[in-house]
Amino acid sequence: MHAERIVENLNRAHHELFGRDPAVCLIGEDLLDPYGGAFKVSRGLSTLFPERVLSAPISECAFTGMACGMALAGEKPIVEIMFGDFIGYAFDPLWNLAAKSVSMYGRRVPVHLLVRCTVGGNRGFGATHSQSPQKHLLGIPDLDLFEVNPFHDNVELLAELVERGNPVLLFENKTLYSRHCLREGDLDDLFAWRFIGPRREFAKICIEEPETPDAVVIAPGSVVFPALEAARRAFFDREIETVVLTPSQLHPFPLTPILDELARAKRILVVEEGIAGGSWAESVATAIYSRLWGRLENPVACLHSKSSIIPCARHLEERVLLQSGHIFEALIGESVRA
């Protein structure tokens, strides 16, 4: 029997939460069955829990703001942003109301708000439906960022996030939905993986755990796949031993659990599908420098997609988005793509 697909895992995460906690509700666009959401994450929910699935007009600002009000009322709303490209409309309620309410009233006010947000390219959706907006939401006090990956179970993750007390953005790369969830152990003929960190903050993927890896690649979400492709090629072509680390939590970034791993590596890469300029990868690199300065053999390489709009045609999209070839080049120390 195949493991669940990630979209099924996310869907089950919602069903379990809804079944367990009457404060959990979902608001967003086109959520009702039989459609069940643009990417089918909410399938079946409106049939079982009609009063708690709020299929809203195309009004991201209002329904995200409403979710803030619901959270202040003691509910645990989940917001679905159909395409992360639309989150600009929801920025004010997230930035100025949800996140600030946690602390601007002089005492800790729990805000149980989870905003799920479909992101990323490689689907041919073009410039306004393919972006990775993570960096625009980075560094806001009390707004925590997470990203779905094939390793961390979303049933556990969502249960934790709705109880967190800080508003959370969960990014879901749309190329992941149809992938299968992975179980600890062998990944394929070459790689195996396990969780590391006291709270299983990272999935660690490598061939045989090297004492001093040639390279560590920090790769969230869907970019773990091009990272692994590059690691495989670097191993067979150059005998380069790579460790790939995939975090669930992007911000605040949990650096401590991987500090020793990073300190032993000859080369560190931080890769993401977003573009440079105040990016997530750059903020991680800065944190690494401040902790490991003097122990690094090479500069931390930040790899992004090109600073460009994302074109529609597949061959043009590939020219812009981060590819495994770029990661491979950086692994062998040949180039560092801005």
Binding site: G65, G69, A73, P93, L97, S101, S103, Y105
Partner: protein
Amino acid sequence: MRVLRGAAQRLSADPPIATEATPAPAEADIEALFLIRGFERLLLDLFSQGALNGTTHTCLGQEYIPVALSPLFEASDFIFSNHRGHGHYLARFGDAEGLLLEIMGREGGVCNGVGGSQHLFRDGFLSTGVLGESVPAAAGMAWSLKRRGGRGIAVAYVGDGSWGEGSIYETLNIASLWQLPLLIVVENNAVAQSSCAERYRAGTIGDRARAFGVRALSIASSKLDEIRNCLAPEIAALRTRPPRPLVVEFVTRRLGPHSKSDDPRPPQLVAELWRSDWEAPLRQHHPALCERVAARVGARLEALRANALQKPFSEWADAR
């Protein structure tokens, strides 16, 4: 009583609050009116002495609106207030001490000096400083109040300037579709910071609300009894299920500047607004009562001022 529907109205020429033809207003109402006005004047005075940090937005001229509404609200209601919210807070809680200490950043402030003038949160009351932002939040609160049963309603105080924000229209649409117990109170003082209404608003607020199937009333009176008599059945209807959201526009006047000294309106216009203010006729018609209450409130505020200046600066436990 004039419930006005349609084009923008001039301010009421009626004598404000109460006349000899009506019974003397309740002493508690006069006290609330004088407390809010005295509080705002105290703030301006403290600013002029350099005793306050930052800025503030006084509700001089608009005090009667929350005073009129306050007894119509219940403990289970949730009120969202805005940048000009001292009157809303004082009408609900009477807590001039907590608010003054908050604005002065002293121990005992409602939000430990972190929130300041426009970010207050306490027992079914929350204010925030971004215009139009609270209306969707109030709708979310209204959704929760409705699904949890009971009679509670969510109230959002906004100014007319906020009706430039799209969040309000998105919310009116949803509130109407989902039959939310949401009351939007519009304090239409015809001026947004320094801009007058004719420069920023086409059409009327009522027509905009009605375009979404939302019931809208406009009230030019500043008489507490008239306002309450008009709105009591409307707010009672909001408490029945399913409710229909309601917009109540008060045609009112802002007698002070936007914040401290930023009022470009011609002095003659402001003088005309003062002539329609509630205080002078109230004092004229009920001199003994007003004098007694004003003295009491004045003494209370002076004691608060002296006490506040002695208090230590606030601690912020959550500081990082």
